[in-house]
């Protein structure tokens, strides 16, 4: 879908619900330097959703959708979980896969898009929970990385199966007692960022979504590296406030507490050499573009 095609027929414009009119008028499709700062001044690519009040996952969704570099030419692949309640309200092409096979679907999709649209940038982004990524879908997740499939995998890590009542997941921390896991977890949290690095991912980040500018940076980096070099992986802490016994307004603090240097979501980043080179080139181009724009603005005002 080219953004030029996202136009409402003039004769029926007035009957279209306002959210569609707003998407056409003021969404940031095609904007080169789109980012989280557009939130509040433009139409977001997410409409009302059915997540719980104060759910950090909704923050993550908003920052990610605001930061995707190429939303009109991006296809997101979701899986079973709380995220699947949100995708119907997202104005980016998306596919709901069976529980766990999201990376297999994304592999085929990315290859098909390359054949169908040669010479055109088409990004694929997988967004799934920890159950889909690490437990049920671990095989598909790893195999996609081994094959060097060029797409980004984002794991919303809430450390348990949230929307089925709180069962133990591979990413749950050791000793944690959940509603449906009363004995407490007996072994350590799976170290998927390290596994991702060893499996061939070129850009790996483990962090929370407490800082929108950080989320924007890692999303852009991950998508650009996946586009040009190979698989990338982001593990984002989006705690389930209900399942860890917090109130609606405590999600942000929970993330801040969990990202302290000694905690399990302290910022961790791995970038391969080719990815480092690419990101440096992109940063230099960006700097050049901004300097040119500044110069142009200066000339215009003079």
């Amino acid at each position: 879908m080219s953004k030029e095609r996202i136009q409402i027929s003039e004769a029926l414009y007035d009957i279209m619900p306002s959210d569609y009119q707003d998407l056409v008028k003021s969404a940031t499709y095609g904007k080169e330097d789109r980012g989280w700062k557009d939130i509040g001044t433009s139409k977001e690519l997410i409409e009302q959703h059915s997540l719980c009040a104060g759910c950090p996952e909704s923050m993550a969704f908003r920052y990610i959708l605001a930061s995707l570099p190429n939303p009109e030419d991006t296809v997101m692949v979701g899986s079973t979980g709380c995220t699947s309640l949100v995708f119907p309200m997202v104005a980016v092409h998306n596919i709901h896969s069976l529980f766990g096979n999201q990376n297999a679907i994304a592999s085929g999709l990315k290859r098909a898009l390359s054949v169908r649209f040669p010479g055109r940038v088409k990004d694929v982004v997988v967004l799934a929970g920890d159950g889909a990524t690490v437990d049920i879908g671990l095989d598909m997740t790893l195999q996609a990385w081994f094959r060097q499939e060029k797409f980004t995998t984002i794991c919303f890590d809430n450390e348990l199966y949230a929307n089925t009542g709180g069962q133990e997941s591979g990413l749950m921390q050791k000793g944690f007692v959940a509603k449906m896991a009363p004995v407490g977890k007996l072994f350590d949290k799976v170290r998927l960022p390290e596994i991702a690095r060893e499996s061939g991912c070129h850009y790996v980040v483990n962090c929370t979504v407490s800082k929108p500018s950080l989320v924007e940076k890692v999303i852009r980096n991950a998508v650009h590296v996946a586009r040009e070099i190979g698989p990338t992986y982001l593990q984002l802490y989006t705690p389930c406030i209900l399942e860890i016994g917090k109130n609606s307004m405590e999600g942000l603090q929970e993330m801040r507490d969990s990202e302290k240097p000694t905690e399990r979501f302290a910022y961790k980043e791995y970038i391969s050499e080719p990815a480092k080179q690419l990101l440096a080139e992109l940063a230099a181009k960006d700097k050049e573009r901004k300097a040119a724009a500044k110069q142009l603005a200066g000339q215009a005002s003079a």
């Binding site: 409402i8 027929s9 119907p88």
Partner: protein, 210 residues
């Protein structure tokens, strides 16, 4: 030939697909009325009559015409607006024509606003809320149209018309095929021609709200 007839419901919770009951699609140049193959001319008259009889005749344009993804789509949208305007001119006081969009097919949660849109996954909500007793689908992809038409037949007594750009819909009570700007305009002309000759069902209990 099948004895099954595609009639206004409520048929029951899971009405059979009309195709499975032996209803076949019309050939080019034909239409079907209640599952019986008929000439297009007869279908124009019957569709116009149903519109003029209905308390709340409604057009549901789908994504294929709501979005101007090519020139033809934009022209069809103009024709649909013309049909709606004609309906408004031709109905009697007490009748309330509506034009409600189906912008896309997402299974929207937690809910849709039935006053401003229809969703193919629960079209009965919009039919019930607005007490629609006759509707026409146009510009809706086949699979979603069939799904909606079956749900409507199952849970409401709304009369359904399909202005289909492909081979027609056996799950509608009346279906055209190969819809074009000309066909939509011709339906508008027929509505205009039959104005005043059909008695609206204003006193009858509204079926769409069943």
């Amino acid at each position: 030939m099948s004895e099954y007839r595609v009639l206004p419901g409520p048929e029951h919770f899971l009405p059979p697909a009309a195709a499975s009951m032996g209803i076949r699609l019309p050939n080019p140049g034909e239409a079907h009325i209640n599952g019986v193959i008929a000439s297009e001319e007869k279908a124009y008259e019957e569709a116009a009559r149903q519109f003029l009889m209905a308390k709340v005749p409604t057009i549901f344009p789908g994504p294929l015409v709501l979005w101007a993804w090519n020139e033809k789509a934009a022209k069809k949208a103009t024709a649909i607006r013309h049909l709606f305007n004609t309906l408004k001119e031709c109905v009697q006081p007490g009748q309330k024509p509506m034009l409600i969009p189906m912008p896309d097919y997402r299974p929207k949660y937690p809910k849709i606003n039935p006053e401003v849109e229809i969703n193919p996954n629960h079209p009965n909500l919009t039919i019930w809320h607005n007490k629609i007793d006759c509707c026409m689908f146009v510009g809706v992809h086949c699979h979603q149209a069939n799904l909606s038409l079956k749900i409507i037949r199952g849970g409401t007594s709304c009369y359904t018309i399909a202005m289909c750009a492909q081979a027609g819909h056996e799950d509608a009570m009346l279906s055209f095929r190969d819809a074009s700007v000309e066909k939509i305009m011709k339906l508008a002309d027929t509505v205009k021609r039959l104005k005043g000759t059909v008695q609206p069902r204003l006193s009858a209990k509204n079926g769409g709200a069943n």
